[in-house]
């Protein structure tokens, strides 16, 4: 299932998902710097050109930050996707050693479901 189908509100038209700005320390630090620049621009606009211009700067800034946060959907998914493999034998025998394996994050294996 693509990220666009799961989270349609957070995906741009180009199909790129919004990145979580606090996913790692480095990204959180960049987010802080962006916040400082953003609010400095709003304050500067407010003091120099008035409330209306400050409001426009705020709206444009939010749009720009939104575009900056649209990155490659696979950027945040560094761990490989896990595939469920059912090794339950057809003849009703005991599952093989491989069949008893359960990759993390893929739910219960066939032998567990029978319990």
């Amino acid at each position: 299932v693509s990220s666009r189908a799961r989270f349609p509100l957070f995906v741009s038209e180009e199909g790129k998902a919004l990145r979580n700005p606090l996913r790692s320390e480095a990204e959180a630090f960049r987010f802080l710097i962006t916040t400082i620049i953003f609010f400095a621009a709003i304050v500067g606009a407010r003091l120099l050109m008035g409330v209306i211009v400050a409001l426009v700067v705020a709206i444009v800034g939010v749009a720009l930050i939104g575009r900056l946060l649209r990155g490659d959907p696979s950027a945040g998914a560094q761990a490989p996707r896990l595939v469920v493999r059912d090794h339950d034998p057809d003849d009703g025998g005991e599952p093989s050693q491989n069949g008893a394996q359960r990759p993390s994050g893929t739910g219960r294996s066939a032998p567990e479901r029978r319990r």
Partner: protein
Amino acid sequence: VSAQAAGIGPQPAEARLHPPVANQSSRVDARVLGMLLFIASEVMLFGSFFTAYFFVRLHAKVWPPPGFERPVYVAGINTIVLVSSSFTVHWALQSIKRGNRAGMQAGLLLTFLLGFTFLFTQALEYARIGFAPRDNAFTTTFFCLTGLHGAHVMVGLTLLAMATTRAFRGHFSPEHHQGVEVPSIYWHFVDAMWIVVYTTVYVL
């Protein structure tokens, strides 16, 4: 992973003494995911306080009410102190990633001291500000927003104190430093929230 390790089939007596390994369905590390969920709830908490602030402000004829002066310059210096602490905690994490333990220890200690300075200065300002939360809606929202943020700085200082203690005990290495990274994410979030609070409450 064997069948026994996966919790399937007969288990040895030793294995039955411990709970099975927790299933992790997310691709995000559980500790990082916990911090992200916590921060998400914090954003909603701050959002409710900002909603109250803007509601009161939009209904006021004059803002702030006459006779109520906000300590803009002291808070500005406090802002510089807090933003500096984000740079030092970033330095601490970069240091341990490169194997520089002394740099990490110095960075974490400096971050803690800067955070403590921020909180101490804010407490002093509260004592000398000349108005109280019960005076009117402006003072209530002022103390609520700045006090809520101060409480978060207190939590951040607690996390930093734990990380600093562990750093001096040699718990972190270039391979294992999540105990520094998770408090750092929280600290950057607290600093970013202060930029929003300071700009909204003191400057605009």
